[in-house]
Symmetry: C2
Subunit: 402 residues, 2 copies
């Protein structure tokens, strides 16, 4: 029940909204922005002038548009000069990228790591090396406006502390603070859960653009979800929402790493799938090999996919009943399971999901693949700038830069 | 990504925020409103003058405050002149109330009905009679600013159509439209799900005031939830979110009325509890009798409560893992089950719920009792007025009324 903003706050808000449009859509004409924002032309002109002066966008006359009359100026994000650092700490690889305003990946480094065998200190060291390495290519005058990391674990909202990272083998870790300390010259590193940030990424730039009620399911060893409800990421009180892998679905099921039994991830995680097929190995490669074998007629692999597909449908039905989403996206190795066992998933969903909640439901695969957590981390890192562009630009002396 | 509002929209928004404060808190001094809204004294004075002129509040000097200096004017909602109609269609009773601005129940009618034996037409007739009956006491010049009904069923968000009301025995019903047509002289009747509206009520005026991540569980024959996430009611894409009673928790469980099997409500609904104790009867009275018997040492009743309490804990743990709420409220007959089996609920929650999500969790009983859906319906009915007070007041010619 806060009161509405003052005129100055309105202007700042509008600057943020305009910059967000240009950031998400890329180069956009003033005429389009006028329509999108529902503001008049002179207001749009004043806002783009402010953003240009702040060093955040440039404006230029487009090439011949083929139409009569003076063409509308095109507003472009200053992608080379305004960037964030985005990191992704997954079970088996660590990635760092320099991402320009507009979502342009300017530079990136990635290294495969042994699942569960690296410490938070190892991750901090590797990321610091990546950043140092990428620094050489940063043009003079460019400014880092934010930094964020996607982590496979429970992340406390208020301080980025990682409470539980089963799959990376971490306990209670002040990862955000450690990374911030190591990257001395850069902004605070905000930390987010990988499924949450994947949901944010697909909602901003992927398969869920325009859908405001979305569940992004992410599976590898464990299973988590990022939930977009009414256009906003569901965080919960502490930031731990979306631990759907620990819905108990089978009272007679196997023990789970969390201490409970019969959690959804014990039925649909990679180990469950491989075990059901009597196979060894682990990770995405092992899942792909299994799916491949099923495609070539391997009966055990086919049966395992049917079984896991059925359990996948059970949990999806639960989530559909609870959230009434418009779309469910299957990410990580659940993408392969879903594609190979879509009939089982659908059939179980039809049996267990309320008809009302299924009417407008779409089951989809994500568009951003394994980059989703990294893209989401970049979006998280940009959020401060997009909230109040001028404030951030002034603090970093962007306009004054050469 | 809508642009921020114009100055005029800011004023309207501020009027709504101020009126909402007075509506929720009751009579409030200008000094308090200045603090609450973070606006200066002259702005608050202008806003209260506008609301007074519109016939929505009155201002008066308080009685001797015992303090030196001129006392701050007290702003009171015009409860007698500005009211809504709120209805609740529950499994075994139908209620109508006239509720004044400020949440004051000015008049109410209620009738017990036979569970599952009345049609939507019966409900419309009964409610219409109630309204006609209450009309006699409406003072000249008073205005109805909204109407809403809480219904035990799935309610489609965009038109108030009831898709499924298992417990009231309804199929696909255009209940909102029928009620609106029957109550000719009154505003459109908005329809909401009873658990959702109970959550709204407890969040506005009950046990969840100040908590922005709340799950209100409501149980009788079936089980539903209203979820408040980041301060807002979770609706889902069509309005069907919160059907937690149809989470499958027991693959070997009983068939559910929804067509699935092992749904949570088949383990914790009233029939499951009574059956587990080898008892007949139905409804709240039968549950209370069972709890009473357990208190007097009835072994079968005690065992049934332990069993159902355990399943209650299973589902609550699932919801805690999925939503990371600050509070879970147990409403309807789940209130009695929770109070009688809190140890089982806690114990199961500790086993199945992630430790991180339990840290700040409070398990609570609601404060508004069986009136919660009615109170929530009143809040829903007031929402249009609180969104844009002057517009609504002008349309109804409130100020011009005698």
């Amino acid at each position: 029940m806060r009161a509405a903003p003052s005129q100055e706050e309105v202007r700042r808000h509008n600057l943020g909204v305009l910059l967000r449009h240009v950031h998400v859509l890329g180069p956009t004409s003033r005429a389009e922005l006028t329509t999108l924002l529902g503001l008049n032309r002179s207001t749009i002109g004043a806002l783009t002038a402010d953003l240009t002066a702040a060093g955040l966008v440039t404006e230029a006359t487009p090439r011949d548009t083929g139409r009569a009359g003076r063409p509308s100026l095109v507003v472009r994000p200053e992608s080379e000069r305004v960037y964030v650092l985005a990191f992704s700490v997954a079970a088996d690889h660590i990635t760092a990228a320099r991402v320009g305003l507009g979502g342009v990946v300017l530079d990136r480094r990635e290294e495969a790591v042994e699942r569960g065998s690296y410490t938070p200190d190892d991750a901090v060291r590797l990321i610091t090396d990546f950043v140092t390495d990428m620094r050489a290519a940063v043009p003079a005058g460019a400014r880092c406006v934010g930094a964020a990391a996607a982590v496979n674990g429970l992340v406390r909202r208020d301080d980025g502390r990682i409470r539980l990272g089963h799959n990376v083998g971490w306990g209670d870790e002040p990862f955000g603070a450690a990374l911030t300390a190591a990257l001395e010259e850069h902004p605070n590193v905000v930390v987010g859960n990988d499924a949450n940030l994947s949901a944010l990424a697909e909602h901003t730039r992927g398969a869920a653009v325009g859908s405001d009620h979305v569940i992004y399911l992410r599976g590898d060893v464990g299973v988590g979800a990022g939930v977009i409800a009414a256009g906003r990421l569901l965080t919960g009180f502490d930031g731990y929402a979306g631990e759907v892998g620990h819905m108990m679905v089978n009272p007679d099921g196997r023990p789970c790493a969390c201490g409970s039994r019969g959690c959804w991830e014990t039925e649909i995680g990679e180990p469950a799938l491989l075990r059901a097929a009597g196979r060894g190995g682990r990770g995405r490669e092992a899942v792909l090999a299994l799916v491949d074998a099923a495609g070539r007629g391997d009966g055990a692999a086919q049966a395992a996919l049917r079984q896991v597909g059925d359990w996948l449908g059970v949990g999806v039905a639960n989530l559909v009943n609870v959230f009434n989403p418009e779309a469910v996206l299957f990410g990580g190795s659940l993408r392969e399971v879903y594609l190979a066992a879509a009939a089982q998933v659908r059939s179980r969903l039809n049996r267990n999901g309320l008809a009302s909640g299924r009417e407008h439901l779409r089951l989809r695969t994500p568009q951003l693949g394994d980059d989703a957590p990294l893209v989401g981390a970049a979006e998280l890192a940009f959020s401060g700038l997009l909230e109040d562009p001028i404030e951030v630009a002034m603090a970093l002396e962007l306009a004054a830069a050469p």
